[in-house]
């Protein structure tokens, strides 16, 4: 069951545009994650695919058939909601069976599907309980069981894990991923959590500001972000974005900040004025006396296996660096910050400038 979006647009009225020019292809059996900050329209997009919200313009196709006018039921999909949408007056078993009965499946078929689904999410022992007698994670699993029991091949999930605590979220993430693989579901998953997107997705769609920022595999998105927004959205701590310019004397020489760092590139610096992106683990820090230093330490956070160092460059720009193991710095200790070999370049509009060579800097 492939899904394709073509120039989908949504306006609530003349003034409020929610989504513009959204196009994407979701292949059969793919785990497709829509990610973006809150209010970017990702839930609206999901509801438009489901048929719960009408589309202002554009086309949604399921299996190459335009479904713009089809009611949700005819689109043959299931949906898992953030609030689970369980029926409090029905037992777990009946909650899972509800949709199947509504679709008028035969009684034995309903029995089989529900029992299998409950077994798959480990809720067989709880089948006679009411939702209020379950913990948050178990309620979530009931909602998943509903999707599993359905005969629909497309499943839509709207931030299904955001009501769970951190530990449980990691476990449910794996359960959802395993279920999707086992059942071969075409899954469209909406989240605001970049970690969920990175860990589960085959392809990620990044939404912001009513527009699609980028669609790609997790690796593509992380290594070759289309713009500054995407680069900043993925990765913790956040990527460092620093102003830079081409040196007047040498076109291969890049000056970062107000002359805080100089980097010699393998090729010509692509623009006079630009911004570079450096992942925190690509920065190296060494102690230096105040003459040699280009930054001072503001704060450090020790996380056990690594230390995050927050520092301010002489230019006033703040940088974050991740160093392995435990590193101790005093507050306001002068240091020398250097960038590694993986650099991203952005023009003044925030778009990434691609370079011809993979490695921008001499190792």
């Amino acid at each position: 069951m492939s899904i394709s979006l073509r120039n989908v647009r949504k306006d609530y009225d003349q003034q409020t545009k929610v989504l513009e020019k959204v196009s994407a292809e979701v292949q059969t059996g793919e785990f497709f994650v829509i990610v973006g900050p809150s209010g970017c329209g990702k839930s609206t997009l999901l509801r438009m695919i489901a048929g719960l919200t009408p589309i202002t313009d554009g086309e949604v196709r399921i299996n190459d058939r335009v479904v713009n006018e089809l009611p949700p039921k005819a689109r043959k999909l299931t949906m898992v909601f953030q609030n689970y949408a369980l029926y409090p007056f029905l037992s777990v078993w009946d909650n899972v069976a509800f949709g199947l009965k509504a679709r008028k499946l035969s009684q034995s078929d309903v029995q089989n599907r529900v029992n299998n689904a409950l077994k798959m999410v480990n809720l067989t022992d709880f089948k006679n309980r009411k939702p209020r007698e379950l913990s948050g994670g178990q309620r979530q699993r009931v909602a998943l069981a509903r999707a599993v029991a359905s005969d629909a091949d497309i499943c839509l999930m709207d931030e299904p894990l955001s009501n769970l605590d951190a530990q449980l979220r990691i476990r449910m993430r794996q359960e959802i991923y395993n279920l999707q693989r086992k059942l071969g579901l075409t899954l469209i998953y909406v989240t605001h959590d970049q970690v969920e997107a990175m860990t589960m997705a085959d392809h990620i769609m990044v939404l912001n500001d009513q527009h699609v920022q980028q669609i790609g595999t997790p690796a593509e998105i992380y290594q070759h972000p289309a713009n500054e927004f995407v680069a900043q959205f993925f990765g913790t701590p956040q990527i460092n974005i620093l102003p830079a310019k081409r040196s007047a004397e040498n076109s291969h020489l890049l000056t970062v900040g107000s002359n805080d760092m100089q980097v010699a590139l393998n090729e010509e610096v692509p623009a006079d004025q630009l911004r570079i992106g450096v992942r925190p683990d690509e920065l190296t820090i060494s102690r230096a006396d105040s003459v040699d230093s280009n930054a001072v330490v503001k704060n450090t956070e020790f996380l056990g296996n690594e230390t995050i160092v927050y520092a301010t460059l002489n230019s006033g720009d703040n940088v974050r660096a991740v160093l392995p193991g435990q590193v101790n710095f005093r507050g306001y200790e002068p240091i020398k910050v250097q960038v590694g070999s993986h650099l991203l370049f952005f023009n003044n509009d925030g778009e990434r400038i691609g370079l011809t060579k993979e490695e921008a800097v001499h190792a």
Partner: protein, 276 residues
Amino acid sequence: MEMVAKQKLPQKILNYVLLIILTAVVLGPFLIGLWTSLLPTMDIAKGNFLSLHISLTNYVDAFQKTPILQYLGNSLWISTLTTIAQLIFCSMSAYAFVFLRFRGRKVLFILFLATMMLPFEAEIIPNFMTVKAMGLLNTYSAMIVPFLTSAFGTFMLRQSFLQMPDELKEAADIEGLGHFQFYWKIVMPYNRISLITLGAYGFLGAWNQYLWPMLTTFSNAFRPVQNGLRQLQSEETFNDWGMIQATAAIVVIPTLIVLFVGQHYFKSGMNEGAVK
């Protein structure tokens, strides 16, 4: 917390004395009524309230000598039909106000609420004329038809339906449930506490009707209990007070049952959560 635990003794005594006095004031008439219903009328007439001639004779007499069973039957029939009709019509209109989008929905709802501001007494004359013109005087219909629905019930259920999470409707849309299926299979069970509340309220309201049945019924065949009691008292010159008290006690019993059953449901249903 300390303040509560170490409340001073005189303060505590004063509180309890006050509470006991208030309890006596509230329960007193009720207990006196119940007590006198067990006494022979002769003792009551003599003012001998502390008599020990207690028996259930008054109750037996009430059932044998008065049409109290007929009255009870009438009231039960009227109240039950009114309650069921109110539950159906109020929930359907509330459903329309919450889940259907139509032009003028807000205006219509305000109009609906505006009718709540008219006291029933103000509607009595036009209602009486209507019922009379329809030839319904002295029938069950006269006492049921004007109360088939209520603006209050619609308002109350609308508030309750509005509390339902949107996802339940969306989930139902995805399963392909039509409006009627959604209404019957999800909205009604989801809001059953509100429905029970409205049902109890409607039942008691109908059971305790006095003014309207007094105007529209003339025979024991259709007279409900409250008017029946009044009838018993005025029919005979010599009032058998003991028996009248006994009938009054009988009339209260269904009210108590409804309240007890209702309370049980209110408690059990309060903490149900569909949504985290």
